[in-house]
């Protein structure tokens, strides 16, 4: 079976050619299959966020090959990379990254605005997404009128609106208390089980990681351990 995400010897360096050159990823090779729920864990500074940015086509690796659905991301133009982010990947960030001036509904609709296809029923579709995360009644509220958990649910609705095959969640519960954190995790489980989404969860919480099918542990830019999570065990 073809891997959705296939990485070969990914190296990421910063400040290249300068005295303070820094190597964050030391040759990561990784395969994530379609429909898998994987977590990447590690201490802060271990390179997990950098890895996620590369997986999410937000950043470019310095060396190595990255194939997304079999396509070499390195060979993509800027516009193609934008399209990949728009269509294939749904992002959920630790700090939500909602536009402060836009209402929840408008925030959810943003990816549709940048999509290739003209969406006639954009509003209906956005409402559907908000309903899915239980936020339909707050559609008209701006982010500063929502709690952290509510913001993250809006962000998940936004991530889902273009029906991406991959969801990348970077510490999605990091800014939330454990109760709302679990609520958000439940949504991910639901998306995984009911819609078969590939989910990559980045966290430093072993507890959350253990809910996933596979735990990839990073340390100093290397994968030090890959272990099946509880979900798989069950």
């Amino acid at each position: 079976m073809e891997s959705t995400i296939h990485m070969e010897n990914i190296i990421k360096r910063y400040y290249i050619g300068k005295p303070n050159e820094l190597q964050i990823l030391n040759g990561i090779s990784l395969d994530i299959n379609d429909g898998e729920f994987v977590s990447i864990v590690g201490e802060s500074g271990s390179g997990k966020s950098t890895l996620m940015n590369i997986i999410g086509v937000l950043d470019r690796q310095t060396e190595g090959g990255y194939f997304l659905d079999g396509i070499d991301v390195n060979k993509m133009s800027d516009d193609m990379r934008s399209n990949v982010r728009n269509e294939k990947i749904g992002f959920v960030f630790q700090n939500f990254n909602l536009l402060p001036r836009a209402t929840a509904l408008k925030n959810v609709m943003i990816p549709l605005m940048y999509g290739k296809k003209k969406q006639k029923d954009a509003k209906e579709r956005a409402m559907e997404m908000l309903e899915m995360v239980g936020m339909a009644d707050r559609a008209k509220h701006k982010p500063n009128e929502l709690s952290g958990g509510q913001k993250q649910r809006v962000a998940i609705a936004r991530a889902m609106i273009n029906n991406p095959s991959i969801i990348l969640a970077d510490e999605p519960t990091g800014a939330l208390d454990s109760k709302t954190g679990h609520m958000v995790m439940d949504i991910f489980h639901k998306l995984h089980e009911e819609q078969g989404k590939t989910i990559v969860l980045i966290t430093h919480s072993q507890e959350l990681a253990s809910e996933t099918q596979r735990i990839i542990t990073l340390s100093d830019g290397n994968i030090i351990k890959v272990k099946a999570g509880e979900e798989d065990a069950i």
Binding site: L58, R85, N86, N97, I110, P111, Y114
Partner: protein, 441 residues
């Protein structure tokens, strides 16, 4: 997408009202200055052309003038020559022009003065009048309206008849309810003599008429009204040699091509005087004069507008400055948008539209202020001119009229300013790396 962008930009402007207004200030000042100037210029041109037209755009004023010697030596021994019989323009010339160029002219307007005097009868009933001689076209040219009876005719002129046309005001004051037509009046002009005229017509009096007086401190009864008789009658009574006209106004046919007609008349007279060693003919024509003044006002308006438009550049730099600040401030937003799939060109277009909209709103505010300013200044100018030349107040019709062309050009240029000064910041936004923008705090 465009609509979305416009909505987005308006939203962003609304969120930063004060800053947006300050950004627009340069544009507002520039555009309002341009519009104020062009409004005044445009109004001035319109006023002049209506005033000129009411004074007779179809009039060609001509006068006979001596030929000056060309060399300086000759000039020292030169004396202004006496006019001989053949040096004058006569009614025959007018007839010839009418034959040569049918429909080119309506006639010739000339007037001369006999003097002022008093009409009185046995009781102490009297009226003060001033007697002028004129051709039949003169009254038409001066827009003198005959209410009763008839105008002065060519026959009156040829036979030096003592027929006259009096003012309705004079007629009602002096003759009361009697019909003045056919009545004889005796005018006592002191040293000049006593003259008798027969009234053949009554015209509608207008206080602005030449020869009349309408001073406020003079009692109604003592105000002088003009009496018109024929030109030849007056020169005969003045005991002048009447060979023809020395200065006169040719009335061109307004339904003909004024320029061609005017050129034809000039050509006729130039030929007539071509062989005349002592005299030549000069002309002054309102239409070409107006055209010249019009051009001058136009050039001045454009020049001042161009200077005012320099502030558009200053305004544009202001817009660029604020857009740069805005983009730095919204780096995170740009990052989020890019992460969610916005292409570089989408970001560029978004900020470009925002800059254009800021400039366009500034332009619209500027146009509004400019028009208001134009009306205010126009009102002040009108008041100033009318109080300075009270007697001409009714002639000066100062209609403030904003120039539509100037408004369109101004709005176009404010948009252009937006594009020009918005491009650099927008491009800067578009060139951001998505991950750097997203991480920006």
């Amino acid at each position: 997408m465009l609509f979305e962008n416009i909505k987005e930009s308006l939203n962003s402007i609304r969120c930063n009202k004060m800053r947006s207004l300050l950004t627009m200030l340069g544009i507002i000042i520039g555009i309002s200055a341009v519009i104020t100037i062009t409004t005044i210029g445009n109004s001035l041109r319109r006023t002049l052309s209506t005033t000129f037209n009411s004074l007779g755009a179809n009039a060609l004023y001509m006068y006979i003038m001596a030929r000056y010697p060309e060399s300086e030596e000759d000039y020292l021994n030169w004396e202004y020559p006496e006019m001989d019989k053949e040096d004058y323009v006569t009614d025959e010339d007018i007839e010839k022009i009418k034959e040569l160029y049918p429909d080119a002219i309506e006639g010739i307007a000339v007037n001369n003065f006999l003097g002022a005097g008093k009409v009185s009868d046995s009781s102490d009933n009297y009226a003060k009048v001033a007697v002028q001689g004129c051709t039949k076209d003169y009254l038409k040219y001066m827009k003198v309206d005959i209410k009763l009876g008839r105008n002065i005719t060519d026959a009156d002129n040829k036979k030096c008849k003592v027929s006259c046309v009096v003012a309705d005001k004079m007629a009602s004051n002096y003759f009361k309810d009697e019909n003045p037509i056919g009545k004889n009046i005796e005018i006592d002009m002191g040293d000049t003599g006593i003259f008798t005229f027969v009234i053949v017509g009554v015209y509608k009096y207008n206080p602005q008429m030449q020869g009349g007086s309408d001073e406020k401190n003079v009692p109604e009864k003592d105000r002088i009204t003009p009496i018109y008789t024929s030109y030849n009658t007056v020169s005969k009574l003045n005991k002048e040699d009447n060979y023809g006209y020395e200065n006169f106004t040719i009335i061109l046919n307004p339904s003909s091509n004024i320029k061609d007609s005017s050129a034809n008349v000039k050509l006729y007279f130039d030929e007539k005087y071509a062989d005349n060693k002592d005299f030549q003919i000069e002309s002054f024509d309102a239409a070409s004069e107006l055209e010249m003044i019009d051009n001058i006002i136009n050039i001045v308006t454009i020049a001042i507008s161009a200077i005012a438009a320099i502030s558009l550049i200053v305004g544009g730099v202001g817009v660029m400055n604020i857009m740069l600040v805005s983009i730095t401030e919204r780096t995170k937003e740009i990052g989020i948008r890019m992460a969610l799939g916005a292409k570089r060109k989408t970001i560029r277009v978004q900020f470009l539209i925002e800059a254009v909209i800021i400039c366009l709103i500034g332009g619209l505010i500027g146009v509004t202020i400019g028009i208001v300013n134009g009306y205010l200044l126009g009102g002040i100018v009108k008041m100033a001119v009318q109080s300075a030349y009270e007697e001409y107040a009714s002639y000066i019709i100062f209609n403030v009229q904003p120039s539509l062309t100037a408004i369109n050009i101004s709005l176009f240029f404010s948009m252009l300013t937006g594009v020009f000064f918005g491009y650099y910041p927008a491009n800067k936004a578009a060139k951001m790396e998505v991950i750097d923008a997203l991480r920006y705090e």
